[in-house]
Amino acid sequence: MLKVENVYKTFNAGTINEKKAIQGLNLHLEPGDFVTVIGGNGAGKSTTLNLVAGVFLADRGKITLDGQDITKQPEYVRAKLLGRVFQDPMLGTAADMEIEENLAMAYRRGKRRGLSWGVTNNERELYFERLKMLDLGLENRMNSKVGLLSGGQRQALTLLMATLQKPKLLLLDEHTAALDPKTAARVLELTEEIVTKDSLTTLMITHNMKDAIHYGNRLIMMHEGKVIYDVKGEEKKQLHVSDLLKKFEECGGETSDRMLLA
């Protein structure tokens, strides 16, 4: 499904701020893989997702998704293959537009946008049903501005938007990190529900090791721009947070407070 082959990315090359963020990354995802990604601050997790999404291009290496070479494709072109939810709840939705307008934007991901009406009545029914599944009462507020929603509601909506057109790959970058624990748990539950229902191939970054073990069928740990640990299936299920911490320290990583929170 996704193939990242020998990818490198350096920021601000040749300046004093040079940062080798990704250094020879290899990653292959099978269709239906739900992979959790962990690693210390600055390990290159977000950069990996951004490279796949095309926020910036790789310096070297090749990225293929669903058989297409997307290495050099602009972000908006490969967007037709990808669903994305960001860490910041503000990033995934347009605050000054209505809930249904946001959904309508997402419903047309990867399609040509012409001069037909922006939201049709048939769509409204679909949105109503989908919003109802979130169980947040948003289905009765379809004409409310998204800016009026809480962070958790916005993340749930973004998740729905990212999956409204079934993506080849779903990219989640610490999408619950900015939420309070209860809301975060609810959004994670929803994530699993949607991913399972549509058997979506998913990359989910999390800083919570328990979540990383509990969710998905595969777990990878990143360090200094590379994958340093990759487990799946039974072996992954048997993991404990302490195993991950040990693994992390073996590679010379500083166990940050943030990771211990898990």
Partner: protein, 308 residues
Amino acid sequence: MTSILLAMQGAVSQGILWSVMALGVFITFKVLDCADMTVDGSFALGGAVSAVMILKGVDPFLSLFIAVAAGMIAGTVTAVLNTKLQIPILLAGILTQLALYSVNIRVMGQPNTPLNGVSTIVTILRDITSMQKSIITLILGIVIAAALVFILYWFFGTELGSAIRATGNNEYMVRALGVNTDMMKIIGLFLGNGLVALSGALVGQSQGYADVQMGQGAIVIGLASIIIGEVIFDFLVSAFKFKLSFAHKLLSVIIGSILYRLIIAIVLQLGMKSTDLKLLTATIVAAALALPVLKSKLPSSKNKKIAA
């Protein structure tokens, strides 16, 4: 007394013709969130192109369309400088505006073009209807403004229009949803400056001449109109509790533009020097823009915060 009424009527017609420019500024500044400084130049460009076309024997109505096309090209230049060549939008607009000064003089062959003795849309309609010039300007302005509100309301409700609105709101999201945001900005500036040039052409024809200086300060006048309209509609919304739709916002721009001209007419009647008007306009805009900041600094105000 009649002189005051006449001044008021003139102000309303001027306000409507200039409101077309304000609608253009609304599209770039408000809808697209692009501080497009091309406006001063594209306004004069519209006036110049239309005037020169008329002198060359082109039908005055047709000259409006040519003026719009010229404005659209100017907007596209700014948009391409910004999106493809990565020049900050503010600078890109200023560069185009500066270049347009020379272009406009080239177009006219001189710094201004009088339309004495040739027919304009205003004189043509006067000959048909035998109404007063000022009344014709007023009706013409109302018809055009109403048509534009209708067309813009439709356009920004379409898939493409929604994508442009969303680009102004959250570019990051829109790109993630597969929209070429560069293209949205190009279309937005293209449309916005087309309207600005249309306004320049209408104003030029109604006053009977085009001048390279005629667009000076247009951006700030446009912003002042938008802000005045916003204030009025905020008040109406809180008084009558209705939902502010996009159509209301378009309408508010036109009403704001008319009120702006009325305010100017009144202060002139009260004896203000016309050369002080730019100071007044700048002060209105600065005060209105500073208002939210000043309000939030008052201890009594309730800060609306989005709960996480």
